[in-house]
Point group: C2
Chain length 203, copies 2
DNA sequence: ATGCAATGTTAACGGCGTTAACTTCAGCAA
DNA sequence: TTGCTGAAGTTAACGCCGTTAACATTGCAT
């Protein structure tokens, strides 16, 4: 479709890009369809030709976020199991720190009830899958315990997700040397927190 | 102040209670000052005599939430270090599951930028303190490693917070037997995830 | 060339948070 | 007792917002 004065021709893309920029800079609550249309130079209802409503637009942005996160996780070196697991954790938290507003949109839960946007669920699952694959890999190599995969994966994901959330919301005081904290925490999950000179590991 | 037809006399309390009920049932995005005032039977600007704006009202609700969470955590039996730590984790996740909407308000980060409401920050810290005390206790009893307290505490909090968030947002498939999952994950953080017949614990 | 479907437009509805300006009333000082 | 004051309520209004209905333009396939 060519671009005339009337038919914009690239509205979906432009709306997506500019909305993404706003979310990244100011958070999803700053997204207003009227302001967005104004900024693009188009009437507000025109946006409804491409997005069912405000939430659907936000869902698309969240999908972008999950895809980016997945790429970051895929880039982690998988040679050594231990460094792969720690590396995934670091990459995960680093993404959240680089894109806090996008991360909040992706995991806010407030805006997007699960199940309402299947493609969003799928994108989240795809990112999660990278983590699960890494855990499964570590298990197959005999590095990780033979505990249920779902349990190990849930633990890993909970840890990095919780740390990300607490970090970007400023709940953890003195978060200056962040990567070190993330690495230390991940190591704790691997090695355990109990003092082994006093207690035996659970059988 | 007595209650006449004009002066309501109990508006602050009523607004707090009814708003809390709405948040618990429908989430904070369902809070509208106009609707709330209508429901109470008062004009909208009357609310502004007691709350600076919508966000301040939400902040008060979040404070309530943190206080409740703190009470739940304080009720955990502290006799045995291990069961105290696991118990705290279970209580934490249980609270999130019982009050998902309130929990999202407390930790959403979207609504309430840290530092804007000092009393809210303080309430969050007080809840966090219970967890930190439990960890410190476990350390003093020699049950936990002598790692930096901040590190151990951050790990514990990240884990339970992440699990809570993922659980209430439905990111973890097959979350039927939830307490079991939470207990298993907490145990993983205590005992470690690596297979010790193959690898030595990190020195 | 024509008709259709996609993609725009304007106009309007009802809701929202917030503020300004005014009113009522409880409690206290003279 | 009277009169004042300040807290706590009121109405009216501003400017946003998401969304829908009804209509206009246009590219493309027939």
């Amino acid at each position: 479709m060519a671009r005339t004065a009337y038919h914009h021709g690239d509205l979906y893309q432009q709306a997506h890009e500019q909305a993404l920029a706003i979310v990244r800079e100011q958070g999803d609550s700053a997204i207003s369809l009227r302001a967005l249309a104004r900024q693009i130079g188009v009437s507000t209802p025109a946006l409804y030709r491409h997005y069912a409503d405000r939430e659907s637009l936000l869902a698309e942005l969240a999908i972008s976020g999950f895809q980016t996160l997945r790429q970051h996780l895929l880039a982690v070196d998988q040679q050594d199991s231990r460094s792969a697991l720690i590396g995934i954790g670091l990459a995960y938290v680093a993404f959240a720190r680089e894109e806090p507003n996008l991360y909040r949109l992706m995991f806010g839960g407030r805006v997007l009830p699960r199940g309402a946007h299947p493609r969003l669920d799928q994108a989240g699952l795809a990112a999660f899958q990278v983590l699960e694959d890494t855990v499964a890999n570590g298990q197959q190599r005999g590095y990780l315990k033979a505990a249920p995969l779902a349990l190990l994966t849930a633990a890993a994901w909970s840890l990095v997700h919780g740390l990300s959330q607490l970090t970007i919301d400023g709940h953890l005081p003195g978060h200056d040397n962040e990567p070190q904290l993330a690495a230390g925490i991940t190591a704790l999950l691997l090695d355990g927190s109990i003092e082994r000179s006093n207690k035996e590991p659970t059988p």
